[in-house]
Amino acid sequence: MSDEQIDLPQGTLDLLILKTLALEPRHGWAISERLHQISSATLRIRQGSLYPALHRLERRGWIKASWGTSDNNRRAKYYGLTKKGRTRLQTEISAWRKLTTAVAQVIESV
C-alpha cells in the first residue's frame, strides 16, 4: 500500500470502472487490479466501495453481470459494458475532460 494513494473525487469511480470494462468483461478483483496497475499504483479501490459501485452500475443498466470461469478455473462473476454503458462512458469521459481542463485553467491562471 503506497503513501501516494489519493482519495477519488466523488463520482469518478463509476467512470474508472466503466473505462476498465471498455475492452473486455472482467471480474471484481481484476477490475481493482487493473485500476491499480494502470494508475501506476496511485489508485487502489477499497472493496467496500467497489462492489456497491458495481451493483449500482448494474442497476442502472450500464453494465451486465454474468458468471464465467476465471484464469485459474474458478467460478467468477464477470461484469461487461452494455450498449447503454458504452454511451455513458463517452459522456462521462467528455464531462471529465471538460472538468479537468476547466480546473487546470483556473489553477494556472492564479
Binding site: Q47, P52, K77
Partner: protein, 867 residues
C-alpha cells in the same frame, strides 16, 4: 427505469440466491488477493491476514451492497410495517379513530368515483369497446335519418354506422302492458356495437318484425324461460317475435340507464315517416372504426361528407358546428354526458374536501402522537438510526393507517353504493330507471391511489417534524414540544372546508324549500292525471281523437269529477322544444306543449288576453297558438301579439297565428324564473303516443284513482293505462332530483362537520394536556376555574370564528359556482348563512367542552408536583 425496477424486484424476491452469489463473489475476491500476496512471497497465513484486513468487515460490505442494490427501502418497509402494527395494537382507540376517519372519507370518495366511473369512464361491455364511437355536433347527439344514410353510405373510416332512437314505450305481453325503455335501431346495430345475444340472435334487417329483449325483461317477465324465442310481444301497436335475449352485462348503449327491448327502426311507422325528413333530427349515430382509422379521422371524414352534400345542395348549408366522433365511454349521449360530468365533478370536489378534512384530522392526531413519542425517536436516533430512517418508519405507520382506511372505505362504499342506487330519484320522470354503480377495477385502483395519497397528505408533515427530534435534547428528562401555534392553520382550514360544505348543503335546502313553497302557477290540489296510450294497430289519428273524446265524456260523467282534458305532456315535463320568431326577427328558443281547449280552465292557468282554443281549431282551419306572458314579452316587448303571425321552427319554420296569452306558470321546475312557453291546440298537433288525461275532482283525488283507471280501461279499443296519480304526488316527485342532491350533500356536510369537530376536540384536548403544568401554576396564583374554562373554550371558539369568517367570504364564490351548476340554485341567503355560522359556533363550544372541563378540573398541587 424498467430495468432498475426488475433488478430491484429480483433482488427482493430472490434474496437468498442473491445473497449466496454475493457471498461467492466476495470469497472469490478474497482468494484472488491471497493468491496475489502469496505470489509476492508472503506465506499463506500472512497473506490471508493481510487480505482480510484490507478487505474490511465482510458483513459491512454486504450491507453497503444491499443499499446499493436498492432493496434497503423495501426490506426496511417490511420491518417498519410490523413495528407499526405493534405500535397500533398498543393504542387501539387512536387507531380506530384514525382508521374510521379515513375509512369514512375514502368510502364516500370511492362511492362517488363509482358514479363518476359509470357515467364518464367505463367502456361498453362489448367487443373492442375502444373502437366504438358516437357522433355528435355541438353537444347535440341527434341527426336526421337522411343525414344518417349519407354518412353510413359514404364513409370509409367506419366498419359500420348504426342509428338508434331511444324512447319510453310500452311492452305488451299477452295483454299485460308495462312501461319499458325501448331502443329502435338500424339492422346493423349488433354488428356495429359489437354485442351478441346470450340466447337466439339479433335481427339483422331494418324491417324484420323481430325484437331483442334485455336479460332483465327475460327474468322479470319470462322467468328466464329458454322457450321465450319466437314468442309474440307487442309494442307501440306493432307485433314482434322475440329473436333473442341480450347478454346479461349489456344493459344497453345508454348505460347506466337500462334498455329493455330493441326493435328495428323500420317496424315503427312513426319512424319510417321520418326517413325522408331532413329536419327531424331524432337519431343517435354509433359507429365502429376500422382497424386503421382513428376517431379524429372519422370526424374529419364525416365533416367532409357533410361539406360535399352542402355543395350538392342536398343538405341545408347553414353554418353549423363541426361534427365530432368520440369514443363511447360512460354515458353515450354526449350532451347528457357533459351535464353528468358537471354534476359528478361537483360531487367529486365535495367528497374531496371531506377527504382533506379527514386527512388533516389524522395528520393532527399523528402530530400529537409524534409529540408524545419524541423520546422513542430520540432513542432511535441515539442508537444510530438516520433521520431518513425515522421518517420512513413514520410514513410506514401512516401507510398502515391508509390501508386500514382504504379497506374500511371499500366495505363502506359497497354499502353507500347500494344506498345511492336505491335513493336515486326517478330519472327522467315517468318510469323508474334503475342505475347501477359497480365496484370495478377502476374504482378499486382509485381507492388504492387515494389511500396512498392520504398517506402522504396526512403523514408527511408529522413524520418530518418528529424526525427532527434531536437525539440529545429529548433525553433531558422532559418531553420537548414546540409551543403549539396559537392559531393552528390545519384546524382553521378544516373549519373553513366543513363550513363551506355545510353552506353548500344549506343552499340546496334553501332551494328545496323555495320549490316546495313556490306558487307553481297551475292548480295542483284536487287534480288527478292518467297517462294513457292507444295501442291499436294502424289507427288513424282522427279515430284516436274520437276515442279520447269518448274517454273525456265518460270521465266527466263520473261522480266527483268536475272536468277532464287532454295534454300531450304534464307541466314540469315539457316534451317539445322549438324556436319561435316574428315574421322578421331573432328566433327565441321555447318549450312547447299540445293541449285541449279545456286545459287552461282545468289547470287554472288563466288566458289573460285573446281567446283560448276552441273545438273549431282543427287541422283544417288555420294553425293557431297561445303564448305565455314571458314569450309574449320576448316577441313583442311593446305591443300586443294577438292576431300576429309567428314562425315556428328552428330550421324550417311554419307559420301560425297567436290567438291568446296565457299566464306564466312553472314549465321545467318549481320556483324557476318564468320561461317562454308555447301552446299548440291538441287537435292540430297530435302525432300519437303517450297522452296525459288531466282531471279536476271535487273529492280528494286519491279516492278517484281506481274509478278513473277502470273507466279508461273499460273503453277497450286498445286503450292502455299507465300511471294514474294525484297531481300533487307528481309535483312532489318533480323535485325528487333536487331532494336527492340535498340529502346527499347534507350527509356529506354533516360528515365533514363531525370530522372537523373531532379534529377540534382532539387538538384542544392535546393542548390542554401539554399545558397542564402551566394551568396548575396559574391556578395556584389565583386564576379561577371559570377563567381557565373560559379560556379553553375561547380557544376553540376563536378558531371556529376565524374559520366561519373566511368561509362567509368564500360564500360569494360558492354561490356563483352553484348557480353555474344548476340555474335553479340561487346563492345562499341570509338565513342559510346565519344558521350554518351558528351551527359551527355551537359545535365548536361542544367540541371544546370536555377538554375545558378537564382543564378547569386541574388540581394545582398535583400538576406542580411534576416540577
Amino acid at each position: 427505469m424498467l430495468s432498475d425496477l426488475l433488478h430491484r424486484l429480483r433482488n427482493l424476491f430472490h434474496r437468498d440466491a442473491v445473497e449466496r452469489e454475493l457471498d461467492e463473489e466476495m470469497r472469490f475476491h478474497l482468494e484472488q488477493q491471497v493468491d496475489a500476496y502469496m505470489r509476492e512471497g508472503l506465506d499463506r497465513h500472512q497473506a490471508v491476514r493481510r487480505a482480510r484486513l484490507e478487505f474490511g468487515g465482510l458483513e459491512q460490505i454486504k450491507d453497503e451492497h444491499r443499499d446499493a442494490r436498492g432493496i434497503g427501502v423495501i426490506a426496511h418497509l417490511g420491518r417498519d410495517l410490523r413495528h407499526g402494527l405493534r405500535q397500533f395494537r398498543r393504542s387501539p382507540a387512536f387507531t380506530a379513530l384514525a382508521v374510521l376517519c379515513l375509512g369514512l372519507a375514502i368510502g364516500v370518495n370511492t362511492s362517488i368515483f363509482g358514479v363518476l366511473n359509470s357515467v364518464l369512464f367505463r367502456p361498453m361491455p362489448v367487443q373492442q369497446p375502444e373502437r366504438l364511437i358516437v357522433v355528435s355536433r355541438n353537444d347535440t347527439a341527434t341527426f336526421s335519418y337522411p343525414t344518417y344514410r349519407d354518412f353510413r353510405d359514404r364513409n370509409h373510416t367506419l366498419v359500420g354506422l348504426a342509428a338508434s332512437l331511444p324512447s319510453e314505450s310500452d311492452l305488451d305481453i299477452d295483454g299485460n302492458s308495462t312501461f319499458v325503455a325501448a331502443e329502435a335501431v338500424s339492422g346493423n346495430y349488433s354488428r356495429v356495437i359489437g354485442v351478441q345475444t346470450m340466447l337466439g340472435r339479433w335481427f339483422s334487417s331494418d324491417t324484420e318484425p323481430a325484437a331483442v329483449i334485455s336479460y332483465a325483461v327475460w327474468q322479470r317477465h319470462f322467468n328466464l324461460d329458454p322457450d321465450v324465442l319466437g314468442r309474440t310481444i307487442r309494442s307501440e301497436s306493432q307485433s314482434y317475435s322475440i329473436a333473442g335475449v341480450a347478454p346479461r352485462e349489456f344493459s344497453g348503449i345508454f348505460a347506466p340507464l337500462r334498455t329493455d327491448i330493441w326493435v328495428p327502426i323500420g317496424t315503427r311507422p312513426t319512424l319510417v315517416a321520418l326517413q325522408e325528413n331532413r329536419t327531424a333530427r331524432s337519431f343517435m349515430l354509433f359507429g365502429r372504426l376500422t382497424d386503421a382509422a382513428t376517431a379524429a379521422q372519422a370526424s374529419s371524414e364525416l365533416n367532409a361528407i357533410e361539406a360535399q352534400l352542402a355543395t350538392a345542395g342536398t343538405s341545408p348549408s347553414e353554418a353549423v358546428a363541426p361534427i365530432v366522433a368520440d369514443e363511447v365511454r360512460g354515458i353515450a349521449n354526449v350532451a347528457n354526458r357533459r351535464r353528468a360530468q358537471v354534476a359528478a365533478t361537483f360531487l367529486t370536489v365535495v367528497v374531496g374536501l371531506v377527504l382533506l378534512i379527514a386527512c388533516v384530522n389524522v395528520g393532527n392526531l399523528l402530530l400529537v402522537r409524534g409529540a408524545v413519542r419524541q423520546r422513542e425517536f430520540a432513542l432511535r436516533r441515539a442508537l444510530g438510526a438516520s433521520r431518513h430512517r425515522v421518517l420512513q418508519q413514520l410514513l410506514a405507520e401512516s401507510l398502515l393507517l391508509a390501508i386500514g382506511g382504504g379497506i374500511c372505505g371499500l366495505v363502506l362504499a359497497r354499502w353507500t353504493n347500494a344506498l345511492l342506487e336505491r335513493s336515486l330519484p326517478l330519472v327522467q320522470g315517468i318510469f323508474p330507471q334503475q342505475l347501477k354503480f359497480d365496484l370495478d377495477w377502476r374504482v378499486i385502483t382509485f381507492t388504492a391511489v387515494v389511500s396512498l395519497l392520504t398517506t402522504v397528505l396526512c403523514g408527511l408533515l408529522p413524520a418530518w417534524r418528529a424526525s427532527r427530534t434531536d437525539g440529545l435534547v429529548a433525553f433531558k428528562g422532559e418531553i420537548l414540544v414546540g409551543t403549539p401555534r396559537r392559531r393552528p392553520l390545519g384546524l382553521i382550514a378544516q373549519v373553513v372546508m366543513s363550513f363551506v360544505l355545510l353552506l353548500v348543503a344549506g343552499t340546496f335546502v334553501q332551494t328545496l324549500v323555495r320549490m316546495q313553497t313556490a306558487d307553481p302557477g297551475f292548480a295542483v290540489n284536487g287534480r288527478l292525471y292518467a297517462y294513457s296510450f292507444i295501442s291499436t294497430p294502424g289507427i288513424a289519428s282522427a279515430a284516436t281523437r274520437q276515442i279520447y273524446s269518448r274517454a273525456l265524456d265518460e270521465l266527466k260523467a263520473l261522480p266527483g269529477i268536475r272536468n277532464a282534458t287532454l295534454s300531450y305532456s304534464l307541466p314540469l315535463m315539457p316534451t317539445g322544444s322549438d324556436c319561435v320568431a316574428r315574421t322578421s326577427g331573432p328566433r327565441i328558443p321555447t318549450t312547447t306543449g299540445s293541449v285541449d281547449p279545456e286545459y287552461f280552465q282545468t289547470m287554472k292557468i288563466d288566458v289573460v288576453a285573446g281567446r283560448t282554443f276552441t273545438a273549431s281549431d282543427t287541422p283544417g282551419n288555420g294553425a293557431v297558438v297561445i303564448v305565455n306572458e314571458r314569450l309574449a314579452n320576448g316577441l313583442w316587448p311593446n305591443g300586443s301579439p294577438i292576431g300576429q303571425r309567428v314562425m315556428i321552427g328552428c330550421h324550417d319554420a311554419t307559420a301560425a297565428t297567436v290567438i291568446g296569452i296565457a299566464r306564466n306558470s312553472s314549465i321545467r321546475s318549481l320556483g324557476e324564473t318564468p320561461q317562454p312557453h308555447l301552446y299548440f291546440p291538441f287537435a292540430q298537433h297530435f302525432s300519437g303516443g303517450l297522452t296525459a288525461i288531466l282531471v279536476e275532482t271535487s273529492t280528494p283525488p286519491g279516492s278517484l284513482v281506481e274509478p278513473v283507471r277502470r273507466t279508461l280501461l273499460a273503453l277497450g279499443q286498445g286503450v292502455r293505462v299507465y300511471t294514474v296519480q294525484p297531481l300533487s304526488e307528481y309535483v312532489d316527485q318533480s323535485y325528487s332530483a333536487i331532494r336527492w342532491q340535498t340529502s346527499v350533500l347534507t350527509t356529506f356536510g354533516l360528515l365533514a362537520l363531525v370530522l372537523a369537530a373531532i379534529g377540534l376536540y382532539g387538538v384542544i384536548t392535546y393542548r390542554v394536556a401539554l399545558r397542564t403544568r402551566e394551568i396548575g401554576v396559574r391556578m395556584a396564583l389565583g386564576a379561577s376555574r371559570r377563567n381557565v374554562f373560559r379560556e379553553v373554550v375561547g380557544q376553540g371558539l376563536s378558531i371556529a370564528l376565524i374559520g366561519v369568517a373566511i368561509g362567509e367570504v368564500l360564500t360569494i364564490m360558492v354561490g356563483r359556482l352553484l348557480g353555474a351548476l344548476d340555474p335553479d340554485i340561487q346563492p345562499p341567503g341570509i338565513i342559510v348563512l346565519t344558521v350554518t355560522g351558528l351551527i359551527w359556533i355551537v359545535v365548536s363550544i361542544l367540541a371544546t367542552y370536555v377538554p375545558a372541563a378537564r382543564a378547569s378540573g386541574v388540581n394545582p398541587l398535583i400538576a406542580l408536583r411534576y416540577e
